[in-house]
């Protein structure tokens, strides 16, 4: 494309783009984010192109491969516009019918629609599906409208108008003030006020300053930053240039993990196109402001999401955190004042500049303005990415947006904030979700990970899971983190294996204190959170493991046994055939018995025992009943007696 040299030229160009778009035209949007790609979205895309061609619709019906639509549980997702008919779990084999029926004939294909699990009702339009209906998408809303590989799509949805406004209608101080007034807080974890951060970086003296996009998302199960960068890279870039202008930086970096190949690809394409269009480079839009940006790929260490470790990694050194102060705003990349914000934080900026601070802080709560994208995963029906206004209750997120807990199980807790966060039990489900409210119950907002757990989750085991993660991801530099996590993990492992000691909880609490207060960086300082929050709400589970050698969730293998109730067993042989350890003794008309020596506790027998019998039981904290004598095992069936 030709270079755009002024805001007037940009508006002119936008007008042309918009004039080509008939709001009533028919077009197809296919989710092509990483999650849908894994569900063969590329095959669906190829099929759509072939079918459109075959039906003579090429050029008449637009087709866009967009970023993540969020409803990852049901991908690949196809939206048919202008009605926004939403088809879920679409396979390549469904495409010819979609084109011939819906695209050509306006007929809806029932089997591809969302089915409400409680009523069985089919829902045709995206906005009516509860998963979408209860969200408040202001950042993510563009994801399903733009093809991230085409800058024109972004410009057509008012892209880069905020940049023009900032550069030509505002001075840097006004930009900083607007962000401050908006009340935007960092979406990466700590929730530090973004405007304040910019103000400090702006105030620090120096001709050379840097701005950085932290795309080193690493919480297990979290992928919102990935999806924003994949699906709408220009929003992040636009925010970054505005921030650079406000702070006085002329060079920026996008630090993204190399496990995010699509994000790396799309952001590189976006940079190239933005350079050609004149939104990056020298004399941006004719304003005299220069700014260039480079992509730096990280190797995927969790600790590199920590600012000082990220900076060292960018400098080509081992990704180990450094003591603060000095803070990056004072002495960051190569000793220069540096401002680092997370992907989602940057993506919020254009909207704030365009719509003003009061628009933004009218959404959300007093201390936490705007929306937050959560990665809703775990034991919840509608897994995916959800963007909700701050202040929405956990109950609404999990039960209205998320559709509740699968298989009729009971909700137990939700872990927010990843390994640095905490678990929140059902008694706090009606709390509003924002930075301060979550902190009050011992959890954190973090970067937006939300893992739902049901009654089958052992909370000691859950804490152990996060400690394993943290021990692998600790850089190992400082003693409280490296050794503290090691010993906490040892104790948790012992407890889940039935080797817990009465003094373990006290030692755990002491370790939590030292690791939490004396570690070098935030990874160590927050590492005790999974232990502390599970101790806070589920201390009885720890005690059951330690004192009664019982796992109340029937989850810790060392503490459970499987047992076949002889009263209920009908000797159907289903479990015997499926048992991979050949641990089930018994044959036709012989009540089955589990050989406890051979049993590997895989749970197969429990799962396959027909529900009309339910003869296999899980037991914990009590001895396995002695098997009935062999001679008593014969089942004599009525009517079959000879």
């Amino acid at each position: 494309m030709t270079k755009i040299n002024s805001p007037a030229e940009l508006e002119e160009y936008r007008k042309i783009l918009k004039s080509k778009i008939d709001p009533n035209r028919r077009w197809i949007s296919l989710c092509s984010g990483s999650a849908c790609n894994a569900a063969r979205s590329a095959e669906v895309a190829a099929a759509i192109e072939t079918e459109l061609e075959k039906e003579g619709l090429s050029g008449l019906v637009d087709f866009k491969r967009t970023g993540c639509h969020g409803f990852c549980e049901k991908g690949p997702i196809v939206d048919i516009h202008p009605e926004k008919i939403c088809y879920l779990n679409v396979a390549a084999s469904d495409v010819s019918e979609i084109i011939s029926e819906t695209v050509k004939e306006n007929r809806i294909i029932d089997r591809l629609l969302y089915t409400d699990p409680s009523t069985g009702e089919k829902i045709a339009h995206e906005d009516d599906i509860p998963f979408y209906k209860y969200q408040g998408r202001i950042i993510f809303s563009s994801n399903s409208k733009v093809d991230p590989k085409y800058i024109d799509d972004y410009i057509a949805v008012d892209g880069y108008s905020a940049l023009a406004k900032a550069l030509f209608e505002m001075n840097p101080d006004q930009v900083v003030d607007t962000v401050k007034e908006a009340g935007l807080r960092g979406r990466g974890g700590a929730g530090f006020p973004t405007g304040k951060k910019w103000e400090i970086a702006r105030a620090n003296p120096g001709d050379t300053k840097y701005v950085i996009v932290n795309a080193d998302e690493g919480d297990p199960g979290a992928y919102m930053d990935r999806s924003v960068l994949e699906g709408n890279p220009h929003a992040v870039l636009e925010g970054l240039v505005i921030g650079a202008y406000a702070i006085g930086a002329h060079q920026g970096y996008i630090y993204v993990r190399q496990e995010y190949p699509l994000a790396v690809e799309n952001v590189n394409i976006a940079i190239k196109q933005a350079e050609e269009a004149g939104f990056l480079g020298k004399n941006i839009l004719g304003s005299g402001f220069d700014f260039t940006v480079e992509v730096a790929q990280g190797a995927g260490a969790f600790v590199c999401g920590e600012e000082t470790a990220l900076l060292r990694s960018l400098e080509g050194k081992p990704g180990e955190p450094k003591a603060r102060p000095p803070f990056p705003a004072q002495s960051g990349l190569w000793g220069k004042p540096t401002n680092i914000n997370n992907v989602e934080t940057w993506a919020n900026i254009p909207m704030i500049i365009n719509n003003g601070a009061s628009f933004f802080n009218s959404i959300g709560t007093k201390g936490s303005a705007g929306t937050k994208i959560f990665s809703l995963v775990g034991k919840v029906n509608n897994t995916g990415l959800v963007e909700v206004p701050m202040g929405i209750t956990l109950r609404d997120i999990i039960f209205k947006v998320g559709g509740g807990i699968p298989n009729g199980k009971k909700f137990k807790a939700v872990q927010t904030g990843g390994p640095s966060g905490g678990c929140i039990p059902s008694e706090h489900l009606d709390r509003g979700v924002d930075f301060d409210e979550l902190a009050k119950v011992g959890a954190i907002m973090g970067s937006g990970g939300m893992i739902v757990m049901d009654e089958d989750t052992c909370m000691v085991d859950m804490a152990k899971y996060f400690l394993v993660f943290l021990s692998e991801e600790s850089c190992g530099k400082c003693v409280p983190c490296r050794e503290g996590i090691r010993q906490m993990l040892n104790i948790l492992t012992n407890i889940t294996k039935g080797n817990g000691k009465e003094s373990d909880i006290e030692v755990l609490e002491k370790l939590c204190k030292t690791t939490g207060s004396a570690s070098l960086c935030a990874l160590g300082k927050t590492a005790p959170s999974p232990v502390l929050s599970t101790l806070r709400y589920f201390r009885d589970e720890y005690e059951a493991h330690i004192r009664d050698k019982r796992c109340p969730a029937y989850s810790c293998k060392s503490l459970i046994s499987y047992y076949i109730d002889p009263e209920k067993c009908q000797a159907c042989m289903t479990c015997g055939k499926k048992c991979p350890a050949e641990a089930i003794v018994g044959g036709k008309n012989q009540i089955h018995v589990i050989d406890q020596e051979k049993c590997t506790k895989c749970g197969t027998c429990f799962e396959v025992c027909p529900s009309r019998f339910r003869a296999v039981k899980k037991i914990s904290g009590e001895p396995v009943p002695t098997p009935i004598p062999v001679e008593a095992r014969k089942i004599v069936r009525e009517g079959k007696q000879k």
């Binding site: 600790s474 850089c475 190992g476 409280p480 050794e483 370790l511 207060s517 004396a518 070098l520």
Partner: protein, 197 residues
């Protein structure tokens, strides 16, 4: 450089801007224990045994005195129940690895650390990094380095470099607070057969 006034353990101290709390305390004769600190090297802040309590700008926090710069009007405490608990725990964690290290034994006595609190995992190295940093910063040779991360972290001589550089140097040996460094060196020597000429 401007002067900074602060209080350490109730004593009025005038320090220079850019000084660490540890340096300021030392200048006033107030002892703070250290394990990974060495004057010739950049402050590292890894062992955290030098943790002190600092109150500045209305905020009270634990900081590692070897890396934390002095702040105007800060009130620093170098011994308290909280600090002693932290130091005691750090010592207990390290004693699991190097139970016989004299530096740890002495401190253990002072802070009442229980050597047997955690199961022994003798690695004999407390990963203070004195050898690694001395070789990198003073000798500029990088003959010994850290490998791996988290609990798997260890020091390792780089055979190709060590075989050329270490024979006539060994300046890191006396810095090691345990006896592991020599052992690691001898092991590398034995494995690759250093040239003596």
């Amino acid at each position: 450089m401007s002067e900074i006034h602060l209080k350490i353990d109730g004593k009025e101290i005038v320090a220079k801007e850019g000084m660490t709390i540890l340096e300021a305390a030392k200048s006033a004769g107030i002892p703070i224990p250290t394990l990974c600190h060495y004057e010739k090297l950049e402050p590292y802040g890894a062992c955290r045994i030098c943790t002190v309590e600092m109150e500045a700008q209305g905020r009270k926090q634990l900081v590692a005195s070897c890396v934390y710069p002095v702040e105007p009007n800060a009130v620093v405490t170098t011994r308290s129940e909280v600090i002693d608990e932290v130091r005691k725990m750090i010592l207990e964690l390290l004693l699991a690895h190097a139970p016989d290290a004299p530096a740890l034994q002495d401190l253990a006595k002072e802070y009442g650390a229980n050597e047997g609190r955690f199961e022994k995992e003798p690695s004999f190295c407390i990963l203070c990094g004195l050898c690694v940093r001395y070789c990198a910063e003073v000798k500029k040779k990088d003959a010994v380095a850290f490998v791996d991360q988290g609990p798997k972290r260890e020091i390792c001589f780089v055979p190709e470099v060590a075989s050329k550089e270490c024979w006539n140097c060994k300046e890191c040996f006396p810095l090691c607070p345990t006896s592991y460094l020599q052992a690691a060196y001898v092991l590398t020597e034995g494995l690759v057969g250093f040239k003596t000429s």
